[in-house]
Symmetry: none
DNA sequence: GGATCGTAATGAGGGCTATTCAACAATGCT
DNA sequence: AGCATTGTTGAATAGCCCTCATTACGATCC
């Protein structure tokens, strides 16, 4: 139309674009297709077509399909967690916990196709830890850890739990709770599920601890008593 | 070599086999390749080659690659859970729970490649519920549910939790606990992890803490103290 | 034990992929 | 205007799953 473009073959317009624009177009097209057809039905040719380019051009900007789809997932994940507030602004341990869980559930519900992609394709990859997804999960987990640490310090929670296990319980339960939905077998209410999960976790941490260390100390003292008594008895006779 | 076989082209032997034998050969080959290369690297041609047949023959016995791999996963899963004992034979709620969790972890550790396949490929499928995997998980979950119901009835557990949530917590935590391992980033000890998970779940549900082995040991020591005192007293008189 | 026939097995190729690359052409610079 | 740079093309490649017409095995019958 304007200068800088020319018709090629039949009604095809070739335009040179800046990297930023092209990359954005490709990512937008890819994300749309994933959202519509699921990540399994994505083809590079369809992405190219929707982005108004040819397959080969995709490979100027992305090493391969895998890297492209990973970028799609990362971008979406970053955006989805951009509005995550710092839970120090929320009052009450239970409310903090509930908010974090709710936010994850909300995110999954908002983007089921890409969520599935992340769970089934991104997380299993050996280089998952170099991923923006991992990074965000890390920061998210840090909030949970802090929340628990604080509650323990204040005496609200009485148990300590390895951070790893804490993370696995929270994420694991959240993810597993959404599989029915992700499989397309009905809906779920993030607020409701978040309430349930938070309640169980909260309760689990509030219970009173077994005071086994105290028992050990007491028995130690008893043993010393016994030893003294035994020695006394031996010296006497 | 013998009657019923003939050389074709160069040193190829064509033999007609019963369905059972062929299916078994194909499944065996497929399972081996999955175990060796992971499910992502599996090709029908490689399966055929290892089974001593040609690609086309595979499709006489399996509708498509997907169905074949599903069968591999199902068979493996069935075998893996064949030795699952009925937990009514195990004494103590905590021990039952711990056993069930441990068994799952053990299974995952024994077959990481197929476990990954089940988690990332089988479970997301729309027809997952028609799967033997689903069926076994159902029975497994039933044991957990019974265990909890019984503990609540006896007063050992004070809280009730929706079955769905219970299942999601147990499975979710188990699975998430193994992702590092499944990604090839190190090992894990099923017994240790099972202990941790069971402890948290148990504590979360129970009014009282679990009376683990430490108490037994402490009592042992107390008994020894008593013995010493008794012996001393006896020697004195 | 030879002919018959249902069917197991073949292997070539079709259709669809992702990916590469030499040639081309639009743009910015001088 | 000419040139270098580099975005874009489109055809070609290789590999995959899957189909199907053809081949020939081997059980059955006479």
């Amino acid at each position: 139309m304007t200068t800088g473009t020319v018709r090629k073959r039949r009604n095809r317009v070739v335009t040179r674009q800046s990297q930023d624009v092209r990359v954005a177009d490709i990512l937008k097209a890819a994300r749309e297709i994933v959202a519509e057809n699921g990540y399994e039905g994505v083809t590079v040719s369809e992405i190219a077509e929707r982005a108004g380019i040819v397959e080969g051009t995709v490979y100027r900007y992305f090493k391969n399909k895998e890297e492209l789809l990973l970028k799609v997932a990362e971008d979406w994940f970053v955006e989805s967690f951009a509005d995550l507030v710092d839970v120090s602004a929320i009052s009450g341990t239970y409310n903090k916990l509930r908010y974090l869980i709710w936010h994850s559930l909300k995110t999954i519900k908002a983007g089921p196709a890409i969520s599935r992609f992340i769970m089934t394709e991104v997380r299993p990859k050996p280089d998952y830890k170099e991923t923006a997804v991992f990074d965000i999960n890390r920061r998210y987990t840090a909030q949970i850890r802090n929340l628990f640490a604080e509650a323990i310090r204040s005496g609200e929670f009485s148990h300590d739990v390895p951070e790893r296990l804490l993370r696995d319980m929270v994420f694991g339960t959240i993810e597993h709770s959404t599989w029915r939905f992700l499989r397309g077998e009905g809906d779920f209410d993030p607020a409701e599920i978040a309430d349930e999960i938070a309640a169980v976790l909260y309760r689990g941490m509030s219970a009173k601890p077994p005071e086994d260390d105290k028992f050990s100390l007491l028995v130690d003292r008893l043993e010393k008593v016994a030893d003294r008594l035994a020695q006394d008895a031996a010296g006497k006779s």
